[in-house]
């Protein structure tokens, strides 16, 4: 039984990371109908930013300021730098292509992703960076019942993700920005005619989505400890599928999809084999996409002419 619970906790942890990335994917897809392949790489860069902030304050084993403060700085730095980078990418790579055939921005997104991955390899080298979380956040703190345990990092990841998702929901549902985001997602031209600043809305959407990816990157660094230039690709792929499984464009769907993917992955690894983990997840995803491409919470789109 405790093995099962352990898998659930692991699944929820990775699942909430996927959900955070998937939210960004889904938001960007909603307003721009663009599959932003570079999104996964923002997550990777966020993890790097968190690592460098950690080093700035003395590294895992010699922190000069209290731990919560370091974590706060790591998350803020990653969120704002990635948000800015996401806005810059939108401005220079995607905005000129807004009215181009659909295939053009997709290929550009592939190029941006490839460029970022290799620029990071080039700037920071191929070696894996280690957060070394146990040095400053003890795994012993947390909930322990018999053989079953949740450490404090996982609790923090899950709670913080939930808080962020809730905040995002409030932004989308309550604020003017959220209103214009929804309007742009439904019909960009009509939104523009009604006086909504479409450029600004799209840029801010990119900022929000990329900031979430950056935060997810720092969390991934804390949980998995290892950061290198290719962690973004597979995570981005799975997060995108999470967004699709939940129904792309739907934010609750992205969260649900992310958690489901995380659980599926952790059960596949726990009960079948970790070698086949990715194979199983990808296989399941292909089937889901074929059977119900509109996703669990999405609406089937009727193409009108």
């Amino acid at each position: 039984m405790h093995f099962f619970l352990q898998q659930v906790v692991n699944g929820l942890t990775t699942g909430s990371l996927y959900a955070l990335i998937a939210l960004g994917y889904s938001m960007v897809y909603g307003v721009l109908k663009l599959l932003n392949f570079a999104h996964g790489d923002l997550y990777m860069l966020g993890a790097f930013v968190g690592y460098f902030v950690l080093q700035w304050f003395g590294g895992a084993d010699g922190l000069s300021i209290p731990v919560p403060l370091v974590l706060l700085f790591m998350f803020t730095a990653a969120a704002f730098s990635m948000g800015g980078l996401g806005m810059a990418i939108e401005r220079f790579a995607y905005r000129p292509l807004r009215d181009a055939p659909r295939i053009a921005p997709l290929i550009t997104a592939l190029g941006v992703s490839f460029f970022l991955e290799n620029a990071v390899l080039w700037l920071f080298g191929a070696q894996t960076r280690i957060y070394n979380t146990p040095e400053f956040i003890s795994f012993k703190t947390g909930i322990h019942i018999g053989a079953f345990s949740i450490d404090i990092v996982r609790i923090m990841v899950i709670v913080l993700s939930l808080a962020l998702m809730f905040a995002l929901r409030e932004i989308v549902n309550r604020t003017t920005l959220g209103k214009s985001m929804r309007a742009v997602a439904i019909d960009r031209e009509a939104a523009e005619m009604l006086g909504i600043n479409v450029d600004r809305t799209i840029a801010l959407t990119f900022f929000l989505g990329s900031a979430l990816a950056g935060i997810a990157g720092v969390m991934a660094g804390l949980v998995f400890n290892q950061v290198y230039n290719l962690i973004g690709f597979v995570a981005g792929l799975k997060a995108f599928t999470a967004a699709v499984v939940g129904g792309i464009g739907s934010l609750p769907g992205a969260v649900l999809g992310g958690l489901l993917i995380g659980l599926a992955e952790s059960f596949a690894a726990g009960y079948i084999s970790s070698t086949y983990q990715n194979l199983i997840v990808f296989g399941v995803l292909i089937v889901v996409m074929l059977v119900r491409p509109s996703g669990l919470l999405g609406h089937a789109k009727i193409e009108k002419v």
Partner: protein, 472 residues
């Protein structure tokens, strides 16, 4: 973007009016009048001349790789360029061809003897299997469009990679791949030399080009373009949209698998990592650079990307390429000549001035030597700033350079742009000498990514493609 509400003939009025005058126009018109098979024959002859120049094995291998990439770009062009289906699992067909050929001509299956088929048996078998696989992978395209299709095919590519790495490792060799594959053999003959493979590949690619050209001109080719422009309208015109999509996948798979078989035979071994995503992006870069939708573009793009990236392996040759490209771009894009001369003189003067000033402030800042060897390196010795420890300097300059380039592109005022071009070129040279030329393998990848972004924004039709006219 064409004016809305006009047909294509009217929309292209401007282009026709701008047709080149003088000898260049005459040459272009003459070239347009020549039929397709004389052109193909000339290209074939040029290709056949290359081994006669007695290149060494390395150069022959570069030639083979370039032809392989061109062939892969041709196959990708069918689904991406003609049918407008973004296929991101294309690399798996290439891998399928290579693994299929490897299994049919090595010790892997049916121990202890293995299977050793003749090439005229194994290659058609692999191609037929690839066609069926293409149909299966294409099936989702009946329901999914655009991004969904892209992601499903991307997963297919990833599944293929995972499959060859992790599943049935005793048969497929896992990460170690399949070693000692037979060469291409049949009718008592064997191809054992690189030159032989080069010629075999050349003949194969000529056949592929000819058949693709005929296909392009056929009903099917026209129907594909109709599907690409508007599936719904095509459907209304009784074009069988689903069947055409499946065909596009299938044909592309066959071409990729053919390239795979030749690759496996010429290498003598296959590994899962030969068929990973970076290589897929390389194929895309070739196709996009040349011009998606155009056969000549796909071939040219494949060749150019492949050969260019080979040059980047050697810092000195890479240096020629880098400075050559800068000068060529300047000459081609700057008018009038006075401005060009101003930029060149300005850049040279700026460089010497910057070098002298920085050298006077701190001698360590200019202590390093440029990474380009040969006369380029000697020439640049007192011009570029390369500090004793170039790594951090290069990294910072790289980030600044990217920002500066983006700012330059966005700038509206042309005089300011010209003035700012000088420090940017100089900065690029500094980054190149201190950092980019040092790690050519990563520089290659960065350039591939940059090609995709820049081409899509600046010239989405590629070098040889025709601009698509949106008729609403």
């Amino acid at each position: 973007m064409a004016p809305i509400g006009v047909d294509e003939w009217v929309a292209r009025q401007g282009e026709r009016a701008e047709e080149l005058p003088g000898w260049r126009g005459d040459a272009a018109r003459f070239f347009a009048r020549v039929g397709w098979w004389p052109k193909l024959a000339v290209i074939g002859l040029l290709g056949a001349l290359f081994p006669v120049l007695s290149p060494n094995d390395f150069q022959l291998q570069v030639g083979i790789n370039a032809l392989l990439l061109a062939m892969l770009a041709l196959g990708l062009n069918i689904s991406v360029g003609w049918a407008g289906l973004l296929d991101l699992g294309y690399i798996a067909f290439y891998g399928f061809g290579a693994y299929g050929f490897a299994l049919l001509s090595s010790q892997q299956l049916h121990s202890p003897d293995g299977i050793h088929l003749q090439a005229w048996q194994s290659i058609p078998m692999v191609l037929i299997a690839a066609a069926i696989l293409g149909l299966l992978v294409g099936l989702p395209s009946r329901r999914l469009i655009g991004d969904y299709l892209a992601i499903v095919t991307l997963f297919f590519g990833e599944v293929w990679l995972e499959f060859t790495t992790n599943v049935a490792t005793d048969k497929l060799g896992g990460p170690n791949g399949i070693p000692s594959i037979d060469p291409i053999k049949g009718f008592g003959q064997q191809i054992l030399t690189l030159k032989g493979y080069y010629y075999f590949l050349l003949v194969a690619i000529l056949v592929v080009i000819a058949s693709l050209h005929l296909l392009d001109q056929s009903r099917t080719g026209r129907a594909w373009r109709a599907v690409r422009e508007d599936p719904l309208a095509a459907n209304m015109m009784t074009i069988p949209v689903n069947r055409l999509k499946l065909m596009a996948f299938s044909f592309g798979a066959v071409v990729a698998a053919l390239a795979g078989t030749i690759f496996a035979a010429s290498q003598g071994g296959v590994f899962p990592t030969d068929f990973d995503t970076p290589f897929l992006i390389l194929i895309y870069a070739g196709l996009i650079l040349g011009g998606s939708g155009s056969i000549a573009g796909a071939v040219l793009g494949g060749l150019v990307v492949s050969v260019t990236l080979e040059f980047l392996r050697n810092p000195t040759e890479a240096g020629y390429l880098f400075y050559g490209m800068i000068i060529l771009t300047l000459v081609a894009r700057t008018r009038p000549w006075v401005k060009l001369a101003g930029i060149v003189v300005g850049t040279v003067a700026f460089g010497y001035a910057a070098h002298a000033i920085v050298g006077a402030v701190s001698s360590a800042a200019t202590a390093g030597s440029p990474h380009s060897g040969g006369w380029v390196g000697d020439l640049l010795g007192n011009w570029v700033i390369v500090p004793a420890n170039p790594k951090n300097f290069g990294n910072i300059c790289f980030v600044i350079l990217i920002c500066a380039l983006i700012a330059l592109v966005q700038m509206k005022r042309s005089t300011l742009r010209t003035v700012l071009l000088i420090p940017v070129i100089y900065l690029a040279a500094c980054v190149w000498e201190s950092r980019l030329a040092v790690e050519p393998s990563i520089t290659r990848q960065i350039l591939i990514g940059a090609i995709l972004i820049v081409m899509m924004n600046w010239r989405p039709q590629g070098l040889l493609g025709r601009r698509r006219v949106e008729v609403v």
